[in-house]
């Protein structure tokens, strides 16, 4: 079944690639600054957090004392979280957003989440590429250790796809899911040490952190990009296992409910 889906995706690659291009263009086509906005928005977020947390609230990272270090720490978490949140957020509405197409046209439905993931990936590559060039510019580029990002990104994206598709299908049947996910994502963001260092939290919260797969993922990004250290791979095992199980769950749900979904949209 998975094989058949992959085949379907491959034979509709023209449609998928066209949709990715089209969405990218349509987002910026009618604006004067064009794709500049893709960069400006996260840049503003980073600026705000840097000013508030590093300057006003004087948050200091252990072993680091400059503002620049905090900005790098922040970017490592916030940019990758952005990718994660975008995939989940868009996947969970993807079937409802394309209701008309699903009802009227015959094509493999699985293409839709693929388009979402690719779009989020393109946005991420742009902003992350800029971030890396910035690191080179200020002489903080971590070197070969940067390659360690790839497996972590794969785990994170797998987790996002699994969750997103699962929620996307559920959202068709129970529209509450969409509202609920928005709230949960906010809590999840602040329950992950992205803006603040994990060390500022009280001791008794630490065990709870282990339940959050994103903690180890984001920590790995931060250790690579800020400290230039290879991540401790063992900490990523639970996150990987969770990602795999969520993906399997999503596949199972898709397999069972995809046919029924058309009748409910």
């Amino acid at each position: 079944m998975v094989n058949a889906q992959l085949k379907a995706i491959w034979s509709y690659r023209g449609f998928i690639w066209g949709s990715v291009q089209r969405e990218f263009q349509s987002r910026y086509r009618n604006s004067l600054l064009g794709s500049f906005w893709a960069i400006l928005t996260p840049l503003a977020t980073i600026l705000i957090y840097t000013i508030i947390f590093s300057r006003l609230m004087q948050v200091r990272l252990p072993g680091m004392n400059d503002t620049l270090a905090y900005s790098i720490y922040l970017c490592a978490g916030i940019l990758t979280w952005g990718l994660f949140a975008e995939i989940i957020g868009r996947c969970q509405t993807v079937f409802l957003d394309n209701a008309n197409m699903i009802k009227k046209l015959t094509f493999p439905r699985i293409c839709l989440p693929v388009i979402v993931v690719l779009n989020a990936g393109v946005n991420f590559l742009i902003i992350f590429g800029l971030f890396l060039s910035f690191l080179v510019l200020v002489g903080k580029f971590p070197g070969w250790v940067i390659l360690a990002l790839t497996p972590i990104l794969i785990v994170q994206i797998a987790l996002a796809i699994g969750l997103g598709v699962f929620l996307g299908i559920m959202n068709v049947f129970f529209r509450d899911v969409g509202q609920f996910v928005g709230i949960v994502l906010q809590f999840w963001f602040w329950f992950t040490p992205i803006v603040y260092p994990a060390s500022v939290l009280p001791e008794y919260i630490q065990p709870w952190f282990r339940l959050n797969p994103m903690v180890s993922v984001v920590a790995a990004y931060q250790s690579i990009l800020l400290y230039g250290q290879w991540p401790q791979w063992s900490t990523l095992v639970p996150a990987t296992l969770i990602a795999i199980s969520v993906c399997l769950l999503a596949i199972a749900l898709y397999w069972r409910r995809a046919g029924e979904m058309v009748d409910e949209i």
Binding site: F15, M101, L105, T106, V262, D263
Partner: protein, 411 residues
Amino acid sequence: MTILRIQNLGKAYKRYFSHWARLAEWCLPSSPPRHHVHWALQDVNCEVQHGEAIGIVGMNGAGKSTLLKIIAGTTQPTTGIIQMNGRVAALLELGMGFHPDFTGRQNVVMAGQLFGFLVDEIQTLLPEIEAFAEIGDYIEQPVRTYSSGMLMRLAFAVATAQRPDLLIVDEALSVGDSYFQHKSFRKIRTFREEGTTLLLVSHDRNAIQSICDRVIVLHEGKVVKEGPAEEAMDFYHALLAARDVNLIRQERNTFGKVQTVSGGGEITVAKVRLLTGDGKSVEAVETGTNVRLEITARVNKPVEEAVMGFMIKDRFGQIMYGINSYRLGQAIEHLSVGEQLVFCFEFVMNLGKGNYSITTAISKMDSHLSDNYEWCDGGLIFSVLNTRKVDFVGSVSLNAVLSFQRVSPES
């Protein structure tokens, strides 16, 4: 070769009592069902051969769209098997997936990809699509600047860029002006000649009878009639009036034609005769002569009012003429059981030579859709001959008179 085989096809929609009921059913698999099952389609069996043209008719909610959606593959059937050999194209919803901000050409490429074509294939088809859509330089403009007709034309051109093995056409499809409508129907006909199987959904008797070999009548999710176009369309029209399959009878009459009778039976036609001017009952009349159509009816139940009408149809089922007692100013009221009504319609048979049939209808009002007492298709078959007048073509005698002049150029 069978292109489409449908066996015991059924489609049920679940109607949950509430959203919580669905959640409960998902979470507790052993609990009793918490939903109604509504069958939109049931026990549909059908086999379509390569190159056939099949019409699908039915009232709103009869299950036509559901059936088409299943054939097109957008919806899964609940029960049964559907087998398809070949590529299907559905002209159900044109312009789906068009994006207003992109140019016509970009949208053509996108839509083509959605139909499963590769970019190279679309590039080779592109000139043909542009030529067929006839939108000229607009192809480079964003489609939001298009008129709705242009959009439809472009969408139709993309959808029919390559000949499919099975083409599904919905009548609701209105493609631009009548010039383009003819052009698109011509394209559909060409496809047919080249071997495409056609499924046509329509309410238009002429469209169905001029294109389709066979017609399937759907009623309340079931196939109630399948047969030659004219016979099935008669059945469908009877169904429109009777709204109950059990009130419709089809029987082969003495002329070997199928006679369709429907209605409540409060008043029934006993006899239909065509009489010449001197009162002789005939089956063939000369064109241009005076005739009388005599319809004898019996009252079976007391009714307050009634309207008696008749129609003459040609051999394709096209209506040549029709009139009724109401429009002719004759009120028929307070009828009691056992009465015999004799109607005599007098007219000049100004029809061309050929075979015609008479449809009789008795209903409460002018329209037979309200309280239909009896509707009978093919009650009488007669032919019109032309041995005495000038031979002409066509079904209407317009009695043209010729005057002629030769004007020599002034020198």
